[in-house]
């Protein structure tokens, strides 16, 4: 018997045994995900290693989603198809922007919706909408802000009384008005936060911001415009080779008023420990706020909050109340999203367009890495969000008030009471 060292498929014992060559299982299985999450196509050899992130959704490959032979090609309305493309490609970023875009498309969809013959308007609309929204989720998992908006819209749909005489047009206009109000509310909330944050920035402060956040950049621009306050700005960008444009945070440099700035420093997150000593305040944007006061934000936020806390620097999180989420987290992975670049290390020679998560490797190294990946032994997770515990956050600036982190459930409760009482009245 030839003592041949064979490639051992993953999941089996790692000791190199002289054995008869066994065929490596190369069946591709479609792992069924629980309802609400999309299927991810993984090879069996990989599936055993990925248990840590199995429950974390990931957007499907755009090439699979948007090919003409894709299953959804015929069922999805062109409005949502275009929106999905934008989400998938990353041309709409930021939870506010994504939410507002969704609401706008929803309004357009309601306007153009034509009930099929022989079907009830509401029922038909609901089923069609569900198909479209599921497609959007595959393009990119929903942000918490979008989920809350959809929940609001659903409650509006079911809330309007089942008045059979109410014609389709009036229902439609009611829904569109509600959506319009909601999106205006988002913009107003942002303005309210800007107003409340203005007097937290004092003359001579050194403000640290992370990545690009719409709210934070508006605050800084507004303070600059005011003219009375001069401050220094430190912008922390993502890891040096991260591919998301949003993480870089350089957009703000263009819009901020130069006269208001004493100095401007830019470094990536790896340089944080050097710069933190000179910082007086940290302003962070948030994706969502959870019931226990935890802050779900762009990955790296918790690191910044921890570092700032260790140096006794106040950490301020700016978050609109519509992003408050009724979930209770156990860890960072409970509500997260895997970015693209998951499972991919490409050699310099093998760059894909727009997905350039390249690290410098030689040909040989690329070969080794490639083979490890094929066997599912190498994992390169790129998660998008992380959780900052409430102890590290000094204050949360919301459109209602400046609150401690732990008051999130109270605001949720008050909002719910208001919503219930308004439902009761209607």
């Amino acid at each position: 018997m030839a003592a041949k060292v064979e490639k051992i498929p993953s999941g089996h014992s790692k000791s190199i045994l002289p054995s008869v060559a066994t065929p490596t299982p190369t069946t591709t299985t479609v792992t069924r995900k629980p309802v609400g999450q999309q299927k991810r196509i993984v090879s069996e050899s990989q599936s055993k290693v990925q248990t840590l992130f199995d429950h974390v959704p990931q957007s499907m490959e755009s090439s699979l989603l948007f090919s003409p032979t894709a299953t959804d090609a015929n069922k999805v309305h062109p409005l949502f198809y275009t929106l999905g493309l934008k989400y998938s490609h990353g041309s709409i970023q930021g939870s506010n922007q994504r939410c507002i875009a969704l609401l706008r498309i929803l309004s357009d969809y309601i306007n153009t919706f034509v009930t099929l013959e022989g079907r009830a308007f509401r029922h038909d609309f609901a089923t069609q909408l569900k198909i479209n929204l599921n497609f959007l989720k595959k393009c990119r998992p929903f942000a918490v802000s979008m989920e809350n908006a959809i929940e609001y819209f659903n409650s509006k749909c079911h809330g309007t009384s089942e008045n059979l005489e109410q014609c389709e047009a009036s229902i439609k206009s009611e829904w569109i008005d509600a959506l319009q109000e909601y999106s205006e509310g988002i913009v107003k909330a942002k303005e309210a936060i800007v107003e409340k944050s203005m007097d937290k920035i004092k003359n001579g402060d050194t403000i640290l911001v992370y990545g690009f956040s719409e709210v934070i950049s508006d605050i800084l621009i507004a303070v600059g415009k005011q003219g009375t306050v001069k401050f220094s700005l430190v912008i922390i960008g993502d890891r040096p080779l991260a591919q998301e444009k949003k993480g870089k945070g350089l957009e703000i440099v263009e819009s901020i008023d130069e006269n208001a700035l004493i100095s401007l420093t830019y470094t990536s997150i790896t340089g944080l420990s050097n710069i933190i000593q000179s910082v007086t305040k940290v302003f962070l944007g948030a994706h969502a706020l959870l019931t226990n006061g935890g802050v779900l934000a762009h990955v790296g936020t918790s690191q910044i909050a921890l570092m700032a806390s260790a140096h006794n620097i106040p950490v301020l999180v700016c978050c609109e109340t519509y992003k408050f989420c009724d979930k209770s987290p156990t860890d960072s992975f409970f509500h997260n999203e895997l970015g693209s670049g998951f499972g991919m290390i490409r050699s310099l020679k093998d760059k894909a367009e727009g997905l350039d998560l390249s690290i410098e490797v030689t040909e040989q190294e690329a070969e080794v890495i490639g083979s490890l990946q094929r066997e599912g032994l190498l994992l390169t997770p790129v998660i998008k969000y992380d959780l900052t515990p409430p102890e590290l956050v000094t204050a949360v600036i919301t459109d209602v008030d400046i609150l401690p982190c732990t008051s999130v459930p109270v605001v949720l409760r008050v909002q719910e009471n208001r919503h219930l009482s308004s439902l009761r009245k209607s």
């Binding site: 102890e391 000094t394 204050a395 401690p404």
Partner: protein, 307 residues
């Protein structure tokens, strides 16, 4: 005849005089309560014909009261805010009615609020007394009226010791006066210690009791400078720190750090630091007339008050 400009000097002088009168008359109570009385008095006397005029007058009066108090400035501000809030709460619903009814309504609500404030110290005493056990060693800081009331209300059967800090800067005699007042009770043994001694005796202390000039939104307190040091020391040595504060001290301020305290409150007349901010993580419980609150519950209470 009512003056057209409600901010003219005569009116301001009369407000200040009235305030002093009330303070003297009710000198056992907190000056804040006298401030509320002054506000109610001026509502009664007001001859304005519109609700807006009345509201402006109230605000003007509050401004005057703000400037004419020393230690209680913060509490006066927060109490006035709450008073205006409570008094004008339902005003929007009765705007169609005439001025006289509005005034009556404000006076009614204002009176209710005043009685709540007057009663608050009794509620605190009831809740605070069980914390003092036989043989306890209590550390107190800066002559707080509320702490004094609670300690004196403890039953005669319970013997305990009180350590009073000199609470410099301030009236050099205040610690001695405080001690004499406490020693009137036979069951209390008092001792004055230097502020710098506080850390060294902390190991023998059982609990730290302080009052507050204001309770801020996140459950932290603003109190005489030196409170923060005591708090950090107590936390490090695992000694509980209890704050005794009436609910009219619940303020809408939210300082991020010491520098964030508005300088008008933070500094005294000579520009020296007078108060410091103790973050909520150092406080065990707040004993208030609204109940025994953890620092995180303060915001809930505030939201309930203002919604």
């Amino acid at each position: 005849m009512s003056s057209t400009n409600f901010r003219d000097t005569d009116k301001l002088a009369s407000i200040a005089k009235e305030f002093e009168k009330f303070k003297k008359e009710y000198h056992g109570q907190s000056p804040v309560i006298s401030a509320i009385r002054t506000l109610i008095h001026f509502i009664e006397k007001s001859e304005g014909s519109t609700v807006n005029y009345l509201a402006e007058e109230l605000k003007g009066t509050v401004e005057v009261l703000r400037t004419s108090t020393g230690k209680c400035k913060l509490a006066v501000v927060s109490a006035s805010d709450q008073f205006i809030r409570f008094a004008t709460l339902n005003l929007a619903t009765i705007e169609s009615e005439d001025m006289a009814t509005c005034k009556k309504r404000i006076e009614l609500e204002g009176g209710k609020y005043l009685r709540r404030c007057e009663n608050s110290i009794n509620r605190i005493i009831k809740r605070g007394v069980p914390f003092i056990f036989d043989g306890a060693k209590v550390l107190v800081h800066s002559d707080s009226r509320v702490v004094l009331a609670v300690l004196k209300a403890v039953s005669e059967n319970i013997q305990f010791q009180v350590f009073i800090t000199t609470s410099y800067p301030g009236d050099s005699q205040s610690a001695e006066v405080y001690r004499d007042k406490l020693c009137e009770n036979s069951n209390i043994e008092c001792q004055i210690i230097y502020d710098s001694e506080a850390a060294s005796i902390m190991e023998t202390i059982d609990l730290v009791l302080v009052g507050a000039e204001a309770v801020v939104k996140n459950g932290g307190i603003i109190n005489k400078v030196g409170t923060l040091s005591l708090a950090i020391c107590a936390k490090e040595m695992n000694k509980p720190m209890y704050v005794l504060a009436e609910s009219f001290k619940f303020s809408l301020l939210y300082p991020l750090n010491q520098n964030d305290i508005p300088p008008e409150f933070r500094l005294d007349g000579a520009g020296k630091v007078r108060v410091d901010y103790t973050p909520p993580k150092y406080l065990t419980l707040l004993i208030t007339d609204r109940g025994l609150l953890t620092p995180t519950a303060v915001c809930d209470e505030l939201i309930e008050m203002y919604i």
